[in-house]
Amino acid sequence: MKIGLEIHLQLPTKSKLFCSCPTTADQPNSSVCPTCLGFPGSRPSLNRKALEYGLMVARFLDCHMNQKIWFSRKTYFYPDLPKHFQITQYESPLGVDGHYDLNGKRIGIWRVHIEEDPGRIRRVGRSGEEVSLIDYNRSGIPLVEIVTAPDMSSPAEAREFINQLTTELRYLVGISVQDEQSIRVDCNISVGEERVEVKNVSGLRNMEKALSYEATRQAKMLEAGKKIVRETRRYDEERKVTLPAREKEFEEDYGYIGEPDLGEYEIGAMAAAIKLPETPFMRAERLAKQCSIPEATAKQLVLTSMNLADLFEETCSKVPPEKAVQWLLGPINSNWSKFEPILGEKKGEIIDVIKADSDGRINDNEAKMRLLAMVGMAEVSTSDEGGRDIEVLVNQFLDKHPEVVKDYRTNPKAANSVIGHLMKETKGRHSSKEIVECVNREIEKRV
């Protein structure tokens, strides 16, 4: 089975691709202007930030970057498309021939380009009396389109690919989480020789279902000795089946011409100047190698948050990686929403506790209590400062029970009563070794 995807993601710019309308709006048709409504006489001017984001995506996917680009008009009639042509890129995408390594498997990237989104159609009213309303807030929102080679071999793998990709891009350019749920994908799938395109599927779950349905349909047809014809289908979310699309579409039929209002852009220098940060999966791979931890563990760290990964790297400079994993993927990861906000203030303290545990100065229970206390999930009395409180407790006890010191002279086992008392008092916040040492030290002073 071969699956190739055309993925459309919204780029997180403040304003639209070709006008200065905000990309967020409360009311329908409130973020619109002559340009994104396609009024006669209006003109596009390119949002530089959107171009920059697009270039980052193309660079990240290791594309061969075009030096010069221009935009094209893709002409078709549809009520949500104000100009009845979409400004996109045809002959000169930002980048071509890239790849992404999905868990060690290379997925080819054919092209990356940017384009404007059309408006959105809403059907309202009772069945049979429905009316179509159009909201142009989305018209002109910048999208990046990523076209992959047919290198995925199962619907689950396709889903995993988009999952990982969106995680990476969220970190890279800051695409939003909602977008991941409303992600729009055109899927190409072939079980036998001929491919079928399932167009305009929204959301990851629908995509996986559409692909699974289509794979089964094609396999059954082949089993029955039928031929699969090259066609465009759509996914019916209600009935969970793919159906032949009413209108046949082929890319070439759009009658592409260059967009004369935007001219050509020399993007070579801009693309080369982009510095790519280390993305979550790149970091997981490095951490796994560098700290000799399992790859799954490394992924868990970066997927929770890159801040957790930061904390991990800092902790590892003080304690062995296993110890860091034990605490960071234990109590801290489970309560990450509480720990993340206090990192700025208490990062050093967290690392100190883990270090104390690692050195055996405190036991696991004590370490856990202290960590949870930082986020208000456990109580630790404020006088409990490091090891000094044991000293205080020992001396308080010895003051009250001078006979212990007397007995100790003849029988060192007399110290056990002090030790027992302290263990009880400190509720296991200190290791027994620590307590024993402290008791012996303090009694010796009095002997």
Binding site: P34, G38, G41, T75, F77, P79, F85, G255, Y256, P260
Partner: protein, 442 residues
């Protein structure tokens, strides 16, 4: 410069010549520095903007086109919107949905197009600047037929923000006026970069004092197929240029010019077919009422009813040119022809100050004669204005003689961004040649 005008007089003139398709209703108070008009494809807040098309009936844009805005700021009073061929598709302004403007020298004759109304307004009203738009000669042609001066600046010189597109890579906003003096004052006003039109942002600064010396080239190809009396008038004018202005006139070969026409019609109609896609009875202009229909049927219904014949012809031509299999053969080929012609002009400009030719191969034709012309015959009459337009070169048309009472135009072309030399040439020409003013009633 104080312009006074009598609105009632203008209304009477307009009934005779139909220059305006929309104009002021009541006489404005006070005085303005000058009066101007805008071709109906330039957006204006205070007048409907229909570009000569029924499909835009009732459309009042929420903004002024940049050149209109700049002329208002300079103290100009906008009198109204001038009539034109639908979306600029025509040579005689006979393709308007709102009446046909009539020639100021002879009402039986066309005033040229597509900025026909603009040329008539320029001819009728003293001290008036008419904003025109040229895609393939739509300023030069009516200027020539109506005996006025018309300048078409370099492509990208004047912002197209608010201009209703015909062919975006060809459209240029320019000025028409009775003589060059107001053009000299106002061209710098409408020129200059505008961030809302990125193609206006890479221009070199307009230098009105910059002149070009050297001989003037007259391509042999531009004299073939010109009506004998028009040719005589042009030759006499060229003699004057040589004798009185002391400019050497040299006959040259520019063999690539003959390819300008097919290349122009491919590019212009291709772009137009995408530009006109947006007019479908939604969002602005005409609204249909058959809402129960599938959108394709609704769109087709409105477009069939509201586009004129020439608009439909050009949409079909343009759509054909960008279809699979024809795109390389026509559209991409036309792009390369354009470059070839640009190169040929560039090599001529190394030796010559400018290229001169008659503006049109004829004087304004009679309406009865136009009826007998096939579309392709009409396209052929543009062969002199198409080369500078296709290549984005600035050009000016000045009246240079008369055949009977009908004016003949002379067109001068200079290198990109050198409009200053055109204006200087026209000023010197006007010192020795008197333009006829049409006889207009009270």
């Amino acid at each position: 410069m104080i312009a006074r005008f009598d609105l009632d007089w203008l209304k009477r003139q307009n009934e005779r010549h139909r220059a305006f398709c929309e104009m002021l209703e009541i006489q404005p108070e006070g005085e303005s520095k000058f009066t101007f008009s805008a071709k109906d494809n330039l957006c204006t807040k205070d007048f409907q903007t229909r570009a000569g098309s029924r499909i835009l009936e009732g459309y009042r844009p929420p903004f002024d086109a940049e050149p209109v805005k700049r002329l208002r700021h300079a103290g100009g009073l906008l009198l109204g919107k001038t009539n034109m061929d639908e979306f600029g598709f025509g040579t005689f302004s006979t393709n308007s949905a709102f009446g046909v403007p009539l020639n100021p020298f002879d009402r039986e004759r066309a005033c040229g197009g597509s900025s026909g109304g603009a040329a008539v307004a320029a001819a009728l009203i003293a001290g008036h600047a008419a904003l025109g738009v040229s895609t393939g000669g739509s300023i030069s042609c009516p200027a020539s037929f109506c005996g006025v001066v018309g300048i078409t600046p370099t492509y990208g010189r004047v912002s197209r923000y608010g201009l209703i597109d015909y062919g975006n890579s060809l459209d240029k906003v320019g000025l028409l006026s009775r003589n060059v003096s107001l053009i000299e004052k106002l061209l710098p006003v409408i020129s200059g970069p505008d961030p809302r039109d990125p193609t206006s942002c890479c221009q070199t600064q307009l230098d009105m004092s910059k002149d070009r010396s050297g001989p003037i080239a007259v391509p042999k190809e531009c004299l073939e197929g010109v009506e004998p009396k028009v040719l005589d008038a042009f030759n006499a004018a060229v003699q004057r240029v040589s004798a009185e202005m002391g400019r050497e006139i040299v006959s040259v070969d520019m063999p690539s010019l003959k390819f300008a026409m097919p290349a122009y019609y491919v590019l212009a109609t291709t772009e137009a077919s995408t530009n006109l896609a947006r007019y479908a009875g939604m969002r602005y202009g005409v609204m249909g009422n058959e809402y129960h229909q599938h959108f394709n049927d609704y769109f087709s219904g409105v477009r069939t009813e509201c586009f004129g014949e020439e608009a439909k012809r050009r949409i079909l031509l343009g759509t054909f040119c960008r279809m699979v299999g024809f795109r390389d053969k026509y559209y991409l080929k036309a792009l390369s022809v354009r470059n070839t012609i640009i190169q040929e002009y560039a090599s001529i400009f190394k030796e010559y100050a400018a290229v001169a030719s008659p503006t049109m191969p004829m004087v304004a034709p009679r309406f009865d004669d136009i009826k007998n012309m096939r579309p392709v015959d009409i396209y052929l009459t543009d062969f002199l204005t198409l080369p500078p337009n296709l290549t984005g070169l600035p050009h000016i048309s000045v009246p240079c003689g008369y055949v009977g009472k009908m004016p003949v135009g002379m067109q001068l072309v200079t290198p990109h961004w050198e409009e200053g030399a055109l204006v200087k040439f026209a000023k010197r020409w006007e010192q020795g040649f008197e333009y006829h003013i049409p006889e207009v009633g009270a």
